[in-house]
Structures are given as C-alpha cells and as structure tokens.
Symmetry: none
Subunit: 251 residues, 2 copies
Amino acid sequence: MSKYETMLLQTVDMRGTVSVQELSRILGVSDQTIRRVSRPLVDRGALQKVHGALVSTKSAADLPYLARMNLNREAKVAIAGEVVKIIQDGDSIAIDTGSTSGFVAQALRNRRELTVVTNSAYVASTLAMIPGNNVSMAGTQLRDHDGASFDRSAFDVIERMQVDYVLLSASLVDARKGFLVHEQCEVDIASAMLANAGRAIMAVDHSKFEPQMRKPALRQPTLKPGDFLVTDRVPSVDFAELFSNLEIRVP
Amino acid sequence: MSKYETMLLQTVDMRGTVSVQELSRILGVSDQTIRRVSRPLVDRGALQKVHGALVSTKSAADLPYLARMNLNREAKVAIAGEVVKIIQDGDSIAIDTGSTSGFVAQALRNRRELTVVTNSAYVASTLAMIPGNNVSMAGTQLRDHDGASFDRSAFDVIERMQVDYVLLSASLVDARKGFLVHEQCEVDIASAMLANAGRAIMAVDHSKFEPQMRKPALRQPTLKPGDFLVTDRVPSVDFAELFSNLEIRVP
DNA sequence: ATAGTAATGTTGATTTTTGTTGAATTGCCA
DNA sequence: TGGCAATTCAACAAAAATCAACATTACTAT
C-alpha cells in the first residue's frame, strides 16, 4: 500500500476524472509514478483508467434503465409514433412502466391538455413539464433501476382515476400463453389500470416475439375486444388467434 | 472510454441539446474529436446524434422548466458541485423543487446509496435510476411547469422521513427580509423538510441577490446556526448579519 | 559506513489520440 | 429541383501518453 494511494483515490473520486499529468503535479511526483501507483488500484477496481486520465468508478456513466431504453431504439420510436396517433389532445391516459413507455411519453409531448396517470417517475416528469397537462404520479417509493413505483398508494391513485386509454407493455409475447412479464407487481398495476380505462394499447416491439434469455412467466390481464396492439413488424400467423379480436397497428 | 466522456455527457444532459461546435469550444478540442468521442456514446445510447449537434436522450430541450434551468447555468453547475461536496455516500437528503435542485440531482449521480425524498418528479426520476439509491417521490398531482407536487400526501411522505440534509432554494435574498419565494406552498414544503432534517443547505446563485421583476414576498423558514449557504459569488457585506451564523461555501 | 532494497525519475521506442486537410454528404432555401 | 452553406467523414501527420528498461536516489539493517 503506497503512501500516495489515499490521496490519489480521494482526488479522483472528488473530481470524477483527473488527468495523469495533473495528478503528478498535485502529488508532486512524476507521471510515471502516478501510473505505477495507480496500476494496483485499477487492478482491484478502485479506479478506472482511460488514456490520459484516471476516472472514478463511482461516476455514473451508463445507467441500466437508459441502456435498456436504447435497445431496439428505432423500433420503439416507431411504435411510440404510432401510439401517439391514437391519442388526441385532451385525452386521458394511464401509462405503465417499461422502456417503450418512455418513448411514448417523449412522443406525447406533441399532445396538449392531457390527463396522465403513471407509476413511472420518468414518464411523470417528462409529461408534467408540458404546460396544460395534468399529471399524477402514482406511488411513493421508487424502484431503483427504472424509477417505477408499486406501492399501495400507487393503486389508490390509479383506482381513483377514470381514463380513456391505458398503455401497457410486456416482456415476452407467447402465442399460447399471451403477454408475459417478470414480476407480479407489474401485473397488478396493469390490472388496476385496465379496470378503470377505456381502450387498452399494448405496445411491444418485435424482439418481444422471440424467446428471451430470462423467461418471464406472469401473464398480463387479457385484453378486451377492440383493444389496440401496436408493434413494429407484422406479426407471424402463429399469433393470429391471440390477436384475433385486437386492432393491430404497425407503423 | 475517453477522458472527455463524463464531461460531454454532463454538458449535454444538462442542456438538452448542444452543438458540436459549442462542445468543441467548451472542452477545448476540435469538432472532429467531439464526433469521435461521442460515437461510442451514441452507439451505446447514452446520447443521440442529430446533424450538427448532440442531444440528450433524457430530456426535452425546449421546455419551460429546462429553459429556466439554463438561466445562469454555469453558476448553478458550480453551486451544485459545491453542494455535492457536503454530501457523502450513504447520506439521506430531502430536496425541494427549484432550478438549482435539478443540477444538484445531476451532480448527485456520483454519490452512492443515497436516501432521497423530494417533491420534484424531475429530481426523483434522475436519482431513482442510480442503482443502490432509495428514492421517495412526495406527492401525486404534479404542477405543470416544473413537475413539482404540493399535495397533502407530499407532506405525509416528507414528515415520515428523517434525513441528514435538506436542500432548499429561494427566489430572492433580501438583506432584511431573508430568503423569499413566490408561493406559500413552497414555504410549507420547506418547513416540513426542515422539521425532519439535520443540517440545511440553502443554494442560491448570485442573481438571487439582485431585485427581481416579479417580487417574491413569502419568507422561507429561518435557518439554524451551522446550516450551509452555498452560492457562486462572495456575498456583499450587506448580508453579513443575515448570514452571520451560517457556514458559507463558495466554489 | 555500506551494501542491499525499494521507490522514483529519465530516456527512447511504441501506441494512442488529436488536429488538419480535402472530398463527400446533408440540410436548407429559393 | 438545384445550388449553397454547413456538417460529416476518411486519411494522414503531429502531438501526447504509455511502457519497459535502466539510472538515480532514499532509506534500512547490518
């Protein structure tokens, strides 16, 4: 354990990124020494090395939620555009969590006077900033990877509201089992939203039609005849029965 | 991973949209380098590229709240950096609404294991996405220009939590009247947060020391001796008495 | 004192990054 | 649609950073 380690760590963590040169100036040693001293720190993961500088491992560069939002980005943007065609100015809508929902929220910034209820803090903050909208955030404590809430209070808020549409999502679409997600709480929220909504809009990109790594096992509530299915590719005939009484929209 | 990545992301996320030229000016490198450095970021979805500029995947550029965030941006960024020095990993903090709070939230992404309670949906969704944080959104119905809530339920949530710090703001600082804001509900939230907090951190940029167009008239609750005042310029002696028992921090 | 050891600085070859140039592309407006 | 300006891209040259090997210094234990 070198005598410079503590100081080096402190400096880098404080500033996020510090160049090797600057560190050598601060600690009063040569740049070569900085490299030597930092190597064990980098090896044991206390610091990260890039060409020309050391960066703190504590700095948050790539976040899980945002990373996930950008999987199949084009597909999701296209789907969001199609969903927004259904919604009119002045409509009310419940929006669940899920990566496609984030894009729909972005796209809905072009609509005015919306009434929105959602359990996703991201969706809520995106739409709340549009003047004229009326946005309710359902729930208090937020899940740390996507900022969604599944509190008791979330249900209270959702159940109080009567909306024209509800936007739902799924992690996997199975021709026989239907729309599946990973967690029961997601199903519960979806049910609560459906119970007080007019037509449902199920938004799933084409990747959800193929087998997943982590298999989801919980079934979303069944949709009503006339509900929408929005996706980015025309689904194969295998799904004809599952989608038989849904209105299918493809961009 | 380049040494500019962090800075580039921060700049773009805070401003929403930044032209390649301006970025090259800010970072002091050529525009070609900006393109090179940003490519991997765009590939992994941390940023979005349009002709001539980079845009944040997180936020809308031209919205009132974000526009206001961009007033005195450098000052607010500097103040946020100073505030974050006070907060340690694992601390708990209550954060009010206000444009400086948004920057503090951005800067707090470098801290881990935070417990946060806030009535701003923007702050909540920013910090909820950091793995390991525990974020509570106080309130349900969101005010449409800044996504803040002042519901009865917001107070319930705030009053349940005991935090190490509370971050407060003000619209005007008057040497005799103290810290002023425009709306009573903001004072109420500040009082509730203060009642359950350790030390307060009052963050005000220098523009708040000068007379405003719209004069705020409501006084924030008085601070305790030892509370922090963080601002970007050393305040004039006129304020010596008001700040007499506060710990003043200037970047 | 002094030989041995560890830490640091220095040098030069190698690698990576950056800036510059000019050609190709894009967006825009008449 | 065509032309113009701005932006982007690709390739090369220049600059900066890295690494390894060796020289130097500081410190320790005999």
